[in-house]
């Protein structure tokens, strides 16, 4: 008996690995006990279920995405600090090779798929319907399904850490390394299933927001009157729809190789590992633009608002967005120039890669011209936007260097590359999402985040960023490869590595300031009573903060781009206030527990596949089918919110 128990503990719980894992187990257990305890003590279970787990309201789904993204930023950040701690000094033994591999794999995967993706989806959800004058997204129920698939996919991935072992073949998970022969543990399966499940959710989100933007705009809002953030979401959705299927296929085939004995990506039996690399990057490159386009959208909104000027060159902004979405679909080979595809292939993709720089440059100049002679206010969203511009410009320049195929043979997989993509991902995506979070936070929660603490966070994070990543360009040119867990003392890399690690700690402190800022502001943050704390330009600022759950009591008729701004200048705000005789009954989608349960079933089924416990996999899949079926027989999926109720709410909000 005790023998079996010990066996179980060692194989699945990895207790033979020592205090680090015990400590994590204890922490996780305490956290769970804490959460359950608080919910029970304050009798909040019902509230949790009714208001959150079953919600189909895009604003609440957005908030849940935001919370998940911040938690994952924390987990990915801790991973990053561990990696940098190991690299701080030569010959270090803080982590061994196996742990280092696991940690850079989970760090990369989490940051891209479970931090950046939910962060952009958070803003999609919170902002898009309000900006286009809609009451919800096109398919609110599907939206909930998307969220729960993301959530349980991320949970499945994260649980590998304490049950069975983390994946360790890099976030790109190339075969043959990721094939069964070289990587027998369950970690890779966790990677494949976690991403696959959340990926289904992402495709659904892409479809949902594409339909929302094309079909649900308020009357009068032609495409060319749409706010630029909404435009950027449209671009990102098109890319999601066309790029994610390639990932789905790549992961599914690799999974078949691992669990069903096929040979799609093995060298024996006619398989070809290079095809995985190809499929992965057909998704992978568009993916980096999927996460950065919405950030561009945020910057466009923020620059116009905080410079109090109309965005410079709106039409060129839109066309460069579209150009970026299309061109970035034709550049994927720049991730594997060294695979040996020959000069003709490499030349084509090198030129296409450099071409993406042109529309991106157009956008940067438009932001600068918008600020030119504007009356700029340096609030937090604007500070992050200003910090983005030089950071992204350097990242873009080093990107063009990497796109020079022959030169890439020198930098490929070196710290030069690491510095480049962190510069664009952090400087573009993270800065952008933080700017967006600060900007729309009052709209979500009804209060502003504290400026003073936010400035500390900003400076720590930015100074830390440069101290951390600038030395890495030099390290790369000096020959330091990525994914090295240890290096000898006589390479001349010591000082730069130590400096880089110090920078990483400074960024960590910056993150802690953000946490402190949120906690402090919940109590003491400036309340937003007007609904328009930044003197905004677009429709969402015409609503109270937070917006009532039906958003618009009366759907506005849009006559202009930046309509709210124009109405304010001309003293016509009244036109967007509801008049009682115009308020009608509103059809609202009903809450449903099925999306959550479907997520649970996906989780159970995925877990079964990870360990090849087929009975569990089948049970999970059966659950998924049942939830689909139950939805097909649900006829009453809407309810009617009577006009009197709406009027009551509007009166209590002081709008009538």
């Amino acid at each position: 008996m005790s023998e079996t128990l010990r066996n179980f503990a060692n194989t699945y719980l990895m207790w033979n690995e020592g205090p680090l894992i015990w400590g994590s187990d204890v922490l996780i257990l305490l956290t769970i006990i804490g959460i359950v305890g608080v919910l029970t003590y304050f009798k909040k279970w019902r509230w949790l279920w009714d208001e959150w787990l079953t919600t189909v309201d895009h604003k609440r789904i957005g908030i849940m995405y935001l919370i998940a993204a911040l938690l994952m930023l924390f987990r990915g950040g801790v991973d990053a600090e561990l990696l940098r701690t190991q690299l701080a000094i030569p010959g270090n033994h803080f982590l061994d090779a196996a742990h280092y591999d696991q940690i850079f794999t989970t760090h990369g995967t989490i940051m891209i798929l479970f931090m950046a993706m939910p962060f952009i989806f958070a803003l999609f959800n919170i902002v898009v319907p309000l900006q286009i004058g809609a009451r919800d997204v096109a398919f609110p129920y599907l939206n909930a399904v998307s969220f729960w698939l993301f959530f349980f996919g991320a949970l499945l991935f994260n649980i590998s850490f304490v049950f069975g072992g983390s994946p360790d073949a890099g976030w790109v998970s190339y075969p043959p390394l990721s094939e069964l022969g070289f990587d027998p543990g369950p970690g890779e399966n966790y990677y494949l299933l976690g991403i696959q499940i959340s990926g289904i959710g992402s495709i659904a989100t892409g479809i949902n927001f594409l339909a929302t933007i094309l079909k649900m705009r308020a009357p009068g809002m032609s495409l060319m009157r749409m706010p630029l953030f909404t435009w950027s979401v449209l671009g990102a959705c098109i890319m999601i729809i066309f790029a994610f299927p390639a990932l789905t296929v790549a992961l599914a085939l690799l999974l078949l190789d691992r669990v069903a004995g096929t040979h799609f990506f093995t060298m024996l039996h006619g398989g070809n590992p290079a095809m995985f690399v190809n499929l992965f990057w057909i998704w992978g490159h568009p993916e980096v633009y999927i996460v950065v386009l919405p950030a561009f959208g945020v910057f466009s909104e923020v620059v116009a608002t905080f410079a109090r000027k109309r965005i410079f060159g709106y039409a060129s902004m839109v066309s460069s967005l579209i150009l970026i979405s299309v061109i970035s679909y034709f550049v994927w080979v720049h991730h594997f120039f060294t695979m040996g595809a020959g000069p003709d292939v490499n030349t084509f993709f090198a030129i296409a890669s450099m071409a993406v720089g042109i529309p991106t440059g157009v956008k940067v100049f438009n932001w600068l011209f918008t600020m030119w002679r504007g009356r700029i206010r340096l609030s937090l969203p604007m500070m992050w936007t200003l910090a983005f511009i030089p950071t992204f410009a350097i990242g873009g320049a080093t990107g063009v260097m990497l796109a020079v195929a022959p030169a890439d043979y020198q930098y490929h997989n070196s710290y030069f590359l690491i510095a480049h993509f962190h510069q664009t991902l952090i400087g573009g995506v993270v800065f952008g999402m933080l700017a967006g979070m600060y900007y729309w936070w009052p709209k979500m929660f009804g209060f502003k985040l504290d400026e003073r603490l936010g400035r500390w966070a900003f400076w720590f994070f930015n100074i830390g960023f440069y101290i951390c990543f600038m030395p890495q360009y030099a390290l790369g040119l000096m020959g330091m490869q990525r994914r090295m867990y240890v290096y000898p003392a006589d390479m001349g890399w010591n000082t730069l590595n130590l400096v880089s690690t110090i920078g990483a700690y400074l960024m960590g402190i910056g993150f802690l300031f953000i946490v402190a800022q949120v906690v402090y502001s919940i109590r003491h943050g400036e309340r937003d009573l007007t609904g328009d704390p930044w003197d905004g330009r677009t429709l969402e600022w015409s609503l109270p903060s937070p917006a009532p759950h039906y958003n618009f009591a009366v759907i506005p008729v849009v006559t202009d781009r930046d309509m709210w701004w124009i109405l304010k200048r001309e003293g016509r705000e009244e036109e967007l206030m509801p008049r009682p005789e115009e308020v009608k009954d509103i059809h609202m989608p009903k809450n449903s527990g099925v999306p959550f349960l479907m997520g649970v079933c996906f989780f159970v089924g995925g877990f079964g596949v990870v360990f090849n416990w087929w009975w569990l996999a089948v049970a999970g899949l059966a659950g998924v089918l049942l939830s689909l079926l139950s939805r097909s027989f649900q006829y009453e999926e809407e309810y009617s919110l009577p006009a009197e109720k709406v009027i009551e709410t509007e009166i209590s909000l002081g709008r009538l």
Binding site: G133, A134, R135, D136, V137, A138, F139, P140, A211, L214, K215, M216, R217, A218, P219, I238, F242, A246, N272, A274, M275, N278, L279, I282, V326, Y329, F330, V333, M339, G340, A341, G342, V345, Y550, I555, K584, I586, H587, M588, P589, E637, E638, L641
Partner: protein, 118 residues
């Protein structure tokens, strides 16, 4: 979606839903499409499993079958010929074709090196 009103225009709630009642997509059409796609898949699998063809003609045949599969999807399930929706429907289909062909043809182009090194 062509028959739906936008939420805004109808002044109603969230989603355009349950509209299809009178547009007459008969079940027969779906069954036919489903069977056709199964048959096409079965042929492709059969050819790949039994090694009746040498690689290059096999790839060609598989590509043609895949092309038919796309047509089945478009005509039987997505009803491309029926809607009279706005222009972006055509743009979307066109874009889809561009991306599909780009991915398939360019992947083959990129992968030619492996036959050279093999």
């Amino acid at each position: 979606m062509a028959t739906h009103e936008t939420g805004a225009a109808s002044g109603s709630g969230a989603a355009p839903r349950h509209a299809h009642s009178g547009d007459g997509h008969s079940a027969g059409k779906y069954v036919l499409g489903y069977v056709a796609s199964l048959v096409l898949t079965a042929i492709a699998f059969g050819l790949a499993f039994t090694h009746t063809l040498t690689p290059s003609p096999l790839v060609l045949v598989l590509l043609v079958l895949a092309g038919f599969q796309i047509l089945v999807q478009l005509f039987f399930f997505m009803h491309v010929t029926e809607g009279n929706g706005p222009a972006f429907h055509s743009v979307a289909i066109l874009l889809g074709f561009v991306f599909t062909f780009a991915v398939v043809l360019m992947s083959m182009w990129i992968m030619t090196f492996s036959s050279q090194v093999a």
